[in-house]
Symmetry: C2
Subunit: 325 residues, 2 copies
């Protein structure tokens, strides 16, 4: 099959490249560590010029050979590559956002090798406490394309990560979303706080310790909130009730449990209903497995996982932008 699009998912710490054929079918894919915060720095020749620009070097690493073979292939990219610290800033689009308005708002840059790169803007929600996303909007739109038209009103799309996003959708649009800094908080606490000092982090996933953390967050003891319950990851260690290998996953469960307890409250209040929405999770499979486990404990009865969300989203955005021949 003939390639029709190069699609890049270019985040802070990684760069994924897809060569796509008709219908968004993946012909080839690659994963590089050249996120925008860890770009290559060794100069080399690109298109006959000595190049020192990290973005150009990473772009060439990711798909230079594909473009050598088919110089006319259109290129689309989403993620932090469009941030102020990225290759070119693509100003956020406001909510509600869908394939049509994002697809017609791509930011185009002309690369050293003469190829245009079309960057998907992120989405901003101008609420009292504003919210922003970059990259997740593409994944959500990728999932929405595969749902039936009526789906969405009782649906919540979750993207666990350093900054988890929970996205409310309606009629193919991203209408509202919340951010939780759970993943980054877990990382900085484990690496830089007193909680990390007694953690032993090499052990395999300890589901029992994780579940215990989730249960504490949901219990009456958890009502005091994460700023306080966090300390139990240390104090249960001091009393011998939590071993050093258990502390990591206990802390993970505790934080995810607090996130989901707060999410459930907010969803019930916003929907004015005791019933919780169905969940579709997008992301790293190990992290999604943790969230599935905790969502179940929190009373979210319907949870499913979406796959290929990014490449599908990029394909549909390229289509909406008129990039596909």
């Amino acid at each position: 099959m003939q390639a029709q699009l190069i699609a890049l998912d270019w985040g802070t710490t990684s760069l994924r490249a897809y060569k796509l054929a008709a219908g968004g079918q993946v012909l080839e894919q690659r994963s590089l560590s050249s996120g925008i915060m860890q770009l290559p720095s060794v100069p080399r020749m690109i298109a006959g010029q000595l190049c020192t620009d990290g973005f150009e070097l990473a772009f060439d690493d990711a798909c230079g050979d594909w473009l050598d073979a088919q110089p006319e292939l259109p290129v689309i990219a989403c993620g932090m590559v469009g941030s102020a610290q990225g290759w070119r800033e693509a100003t956020y689009c406001d909510t509600p956002a869908n394939v049509a308005n994002l697809g017609t708002s791509l930011k185009t840059l002309h690369s050293l090798r003469g190829v245009d790169v079309h960057i998907v803007p992120g989405v901003i929600q101008r609420s009292r406490l504003p919210n922003v996303m970059r990259g997740e909007e593409t994944q959500v739109l990728g999932v929405l394309q595969s749902l039936s038209a009526g789906a969405g009103h009782n649906l919540l799309i979750g993207l666990p990560g350093s900054h988890s996003k929970w996205v409310e959708v309606a009629d193919g649009c991203i209408v509202h979303f919340d951010t939780f800094m759970t993943g980054e908080l877990f990382a900085v606490l484990s690496e830089h706080s007193i909680l990390g000092r007694t953690q032993e982090r090499s052990a395999p996933f300890d589901g029992e310790a994780f579940d215990r953390g989730v249960q504490v967050a949901l219990s009456t003891d958890g009502e005091i909130g994460p700023l306080s319950t966090l300390f139990s990851a240390r104090s249960l260690g001091l009393t011998g009730e939590l071993s050093s290998t258990e502390q990591v996953d206990y802390l993970s469960g505790l934080l995810i449990g607090h996130e989901l307890a707060a999410l459930a409250n907010v969803q019930r209040r916003r929907r004015d209903s005791a019933q919780l929405p169905s969940i579709i999770l997008i992301g790293n499979s190990q992290l999604c497995a943790r969230y599935s486990r905790a969502l179940d404990t929190c009373g979210f009865a319907q949870v499913s996982l979406a796959e290929h969300a990014t490449e599908r989203g990029l394909w549909h955005l390229a289509e909406a932008a008129g990039l596909l021949g």
Copy 2:
């Protein structure tokens, strides 16, 4: 006046030494940076022996000359010096804890110069999520000694810090306490998370930004909890609503606001009353000023500051231990 006691407040990052006369009157005091995590390491002669032990070196720096002049002075110490990482571990006493049972549970070690050092144990509360303190118990007991016998039932003693403690007291006893890791969380987020990257930290205290953070925590937007509202310290920056100099104190207010909102809820529930207790704060004056400001916003109507809590507590504990001639 004749000195009767050397009292040491020996924590993780600092060591304070007091020479006390009758009634706990302070004759002289010193502040050293030789906390148990930053002990001196240059060997020197102490009591005719070459000494390499950091605790002995710091102890000698703090009060060696006082002991040279009065070798019979008793020495008492509280704080992390009695932890597993300290000079000698002093096993926690259970709640309820008062001057009498802590004073008769001191851990004694014989120092290189032949002087006994009596270490105050910390306090442990064996609740489902256990809580521990080391050093704060001495401060609380110092405050309780100066209160009338009946005081306490409508009182909450607050010790803001890396790990804030909120202590319920009755009849001269520490009966219950909660810990919030607010201070440490603020530090690790500012130093190691994405929130710190856009902060400008050299500016003087910005009361307006701080109050805004507190207000957000108390608002309906704040009900989603700190794991989510944290992100507003970044997103309000992205939308130009919070400058880089304002972000630090906004984050401080946000975290302290969430701590106090949770504390108020828990206190109302435990006391089964809408009325909030009176507060006595112990600690660093700048941090206490922030907490006073936020407590007022949170509806705690009566807030006062305690002074000399540590040296008074150490004096009374030494008295209860029979160390004072």
